[in-house]
């Protein structure tokens, strides 16, 4: 039994024991610690697998048909490690965060470790049956967690419904795709599928890929299958949002890479162009929605769609380059995508935990009602600031490195693939750039409006700092963010092992192999810090008066400004909303009421802006109405008579038997 197997066994064992403990007596401290330990064991297992210690395990008796088969290769190891890392931070955080009546409920407490164990097992599955079982377990456990706070209002239940329906439709899609695949292979183990994938006809392979893309893509929150994400992520408790947004969505990417790249062995260029296009669409649309959003957690959820879109741009580019036969570039693009997965997991955990902290302290996620949290919640503010820097693709942030690699891959890919690449690459670069720019605006809004300035409501001015374990959970995520931002070379070998090719080398400086390009985030940061120190020193030496006089804000002399005069998140996003009017199509509503005495004197102006998801409205509404119509029609068949229902069963059995008899 090698290290990775030990780690996996420990993770599963600790997780299940924790769940059992929760069944016996629910104590948040124990559950949180158990979840964190599960995560730690998973990190260990994943790291061991990345270092080359893969293992395989087959337990034929556990599941019917082909049994449970587990194996951990570097690709799976990376995702296991990322999931484990997120679980460590959220587990510690949950110790005090989950200490509320709603979250102390036994079912919710059990679901947390089960969710983590299921997520750890998905990338380790080595046959289709295991994968699907773990996938479904993950979906169910997360569903329980999403609706944990259902007493808060009907919107939680609605979010849960959306999530349940979409995740199961996605499951169906994956199921169909993999079943078609398995039908062309001797059994359902990945080894057999890998062998069969080489000889699959293009049509069948295409069907399998598209079905897998739809299923896994919906889990990753890819447009147009993203509708559940901005609903479920804000309504779930924050530590669960972190687990879902930073760990679970990654598994959609994992599934796509596993099926498309590994099992099907590449495939046609159009597959990857499709992935690239969907990725670009998701990235731009996701961040555009986030830029307009004034709900802190919804904004973070929409930014998850954006980041998964960026990852898919990388995956799509990698597949495209591989189909052109340029494997170094493919490795570079896939490395960028996987590095972004890791970075996104780190900063999204941090951001969701910090948002949870704000929710815990103020009871509000509405940016328009927050603000002024800096003096009362300094640690949370610093944590969110760090996360926002990491998410906005600016140096020295975490996402900057991966987006730099992604752009390098896209730029060097231009000459690689003829006209297709010549058209796809500039568009992809433009999409990445627009995404990066909008992400900067979004996170400046989230941080600047939500945390700086002055409080816009009583709840915000009476906020308090979170308890220690919550801060510690954020601290873990923050440290990982900083390390990833400053020393990406440290994790690069692992990512490249998972990507299956070496394209970037270097210790402090990242150097692209076989393409010119180098970047050193550490040197850049050191340079920046040095420059700040130099400038501060020179200013200190030069200025005549060092003491700062405290003065009132410049209010044009007209008396103190109230918090209502501040810019809010809605007003901050207004210019962008106007610019992208044609894309987002907001519903605006301005009500002007006049004084009764005179039509010329305005008494009040009311401005409302709703930002309905346009894709949702255009795509889902018709489907839903068709389904409703079908349901209405179906009512005829269900008059309530038990005999009739039993009769349906009887007819069905007879029908199947007759069909068998005829076709035989």
């Amino acid at each position: 039994m090698n290290l990775s197997a030990t780690g996996m066994a420990a993770a599963v064992a600790v997780g299940l024991v924790t769940a059992l403990l929760a069944v016996i007596r629910a104590r948040t401290a124990v559950i949180g610690a158990g979840t964190a330990l599960t995560g730690a064991a998973a990190v260990f297992a994943g790291a061991a697998a990345l270092a080359g210690g893969s293992f395989s395990l087959v337990l034929p008796g556990v599941l019917p048909l082909s049994g449970v088969a587990l194996t951990l290769d570097p690709l799976g190891g990376l995702f296991v490690a990322v999931t484990g890392g997120v679980a460590v931070a959220t587990g510690i955080y949950a110790v005090s965060y989950a200490d509320t009546p709603d979250l102390r409920a036994r079912g919710v407490q059990v679901a947390l470790p089960v969710f983590v164990v299921a997520m750890v097992l998905v990338p380790a599955a080595a046959n289709v049956a295991t994968l699907l079982v773990c996938w479904e377990l993950m979906a169910l456990a997360s569903l329980v967690l999403v609706v944990a706070e259902h007493r808060r209002g009907p919107q939680v239940a609605s979010a849960g419904r959306w999530y349940a329906v979409m995740t199961h439709l996605g499951f169906m899609s994956v199921l169909i795709g993999l079943m078609v695949f398995v039908a062309h292979a001797p059994d359902d183990s990945f080894t057999a599928l890998r062998e069969a994938g080489r000889h699959l006809s293009p049509a069948v392979a295409g069907v399998v890929f598209v079905a897998a893309l739809a299923g896994f893509g919906s889990k990753a929150g890819i447009v147009p299958l993203h509708a559940w994400l901005p609903r479920a992520h804000p309504e779930a408790p924050s530590h669960v949002s972190a687990l879902m947004s930073a760990a679970m969505v990654n598994l959609g990417v994992y599934g796509l890479v596993r099926v498309g790249v590994d099992l099907l062995g590449g495939g046609a260029a159009w597959w990857w162009l499709l992935v690239l296009a969907l990725g670009a669409l998701s990235a731009v649309y996701g961040i555009l929605q986030a830029a307009m959003s004034s709900d802190l957690k919804r904004l973070l959820g929409q930014s998850t769609t954006e980041n998964m879109g960026l990852v898919l741009i990388g995956v799509g580019a990698a597949g495209l380059f591989a189909s052109f036969g340029d494997h170094t570039l493919a490795a570079l693009a896939l490395t960028a995508a996987l590095l972004h997965v890791v970075g996104h997991a780190a900063f999204k955990t941090l951001l969701f935990l910090a948002a949870g902290s704000v929710l815990h302290a103020t009871g509000s996620r509405d940016l328009d009602a927050l603000g002024g949290l800096r003096p009362v919640m300094p640690v949370t503010t610093a944590a969110f600031g760090l996360g926002a820097l990491a998410a906005s693709a600016l140096p020295p942030g975490t996402a900057f490195v991966s987006e730099w690699l992604l752009l390098q891959a896209l730029i060097h890919g231009l000459p690689a693939g003829g006209v297709t690449a010549a058209i796809a690459m500039p568009v992809a670069v433009a999409a990445v750039a627009l995404t990066a720019g909008l992400a900067v605006a979004t996170f400046v809004k989230a941080f600047g409006v939500g945390f700086l300035a002055r409080p816009r409501s009583d709840a915000a001015s009476n906020a308090h700092e979170s308890p220690f374990t919550m801060l510690a959970g954020m601290g873990v995520a923050a440290v990982v963010c900083v390390v990833l931002a400053l020393w990406p070379a440290g994790i690069l070998p692992a990512v490249q092992a998972a990507a299956g090719g070496v394209a970037v080398s270097g210790d402090v400086t990242l150097r692209l192999d076989q393409a010119t390009g180098a970047l050193s985030p550490l040197l850049l940061t050191l340079g920046l810090v040095a420059a700040v120190i130099v400038v501060a020193g020179v200013v200190r030496a030069v200025v005549a008066r060092r003491v700062r006089r405290e003065a009132r804000l410049w209010d044009c002399g007209g008396g103190p400004m109230s918090a209502r005069m501040e810019y809010t998140a809605t007003s901050f996003a207004e210019p962008l909303q106007r610019v992208f009017d044609d894309v987002v199509q907001p519903e605006l509503d301005v009500d002007v009421s006049h004084h009764q005495e005179s039509r010329y004197l305005v008494q009040a102006v009311e401005y409302r802006r709703k930002m309905p998801d346009r894709i949702e409205r255009r795509l889902y509404r018709p489907v839903l109405s068709v389904i409703t119509a079908w349901g209405e029609a179906g009512r005829v068949l269900a008059p309530g008579s038990v005999h009739r229902y039993l009769g349906y069963g009887f007819y069905a059995v007879c029908g199947v038997l007759i069909l068998l008899a005829v076709t035989r």
């Binding site: 008066r545 006089r549 003065a551 009132r552 410049w554 209010d555 044009c556 002399g557 007209g558 008396g559």
Partner: protein, 161 residues
């Protein structure tokens, strides 16, 4: 565009040659500014006659900017306040606040007769007083309204150029 270019060429320089540096003592604290004075204009209750003249003092003909004076948008950026008009009751507190918002060292220039001694508005019920009664004044520019040359001369006392 071409016509504008031709007009520029035809017009040439319209700024008048600078008159000699005015005699007289410079206000205390003007020396430290070293030839650069940012000015925030405050209308404390003026009839807008002085404003027109200030506009023309910074126009092409008199070109107040060539002596290092510049109008700015915020009192935080300013070194001097250019106050016009009598100080009305409504503007007394805002004027004090504006003065407070200027970082030290700071100067106040009272432009026009109203600002100096309430002018024709002296004793009116809405008047809180002259500028001197509200904030300390360093330079006074007489006239109703003062000629642009006088305003430029007053500003040159501050810039020393």
């Amino acid at each position: 565009m071409l016509s504008l270019w031709r007009k520029i060429l035809r017009t040439g320089r319209v700024a008048e040659p600078p008159p000699p540096l005015p005699e007289g003592d410079r206000p205390e604290g003007a020396a430290v500014l070293g030839g650069s004075v940012q000015i925030r204009h405050v209308d404390a209750g003026s009839c807008n006659g002085c404003e027109i003249e200030i506009g023309s003092a910074f126009g092409p003909v008199h070109d107040g900017e060539r002596y290092g004076a510049r109008l700015v948008a915020s009192p935080r950026h300013a070194d001097a306040l250019l106050v016009t008009g009598v100080v009305t009751r409504n503007m007394a507190e805002p004027l004090r606040r504006t003065f407070d918002a200027v970082p030290a060292p700071k100067l106040v220039v009272a432009v026009g007769d109203c600002a100096r001694n309430c002018g024709v508005f002296a004793g009116a019920y809405g008047v809180a007083g002259a500028v001197r009664d509200v904030v300390p004044v360093d330079v006074e520019i007489p006239g109703c309204p003062p000629r642009p040359e006088a305003i430029v001369e007053g500003l040159r006392k501050l810039t020393g150029r």
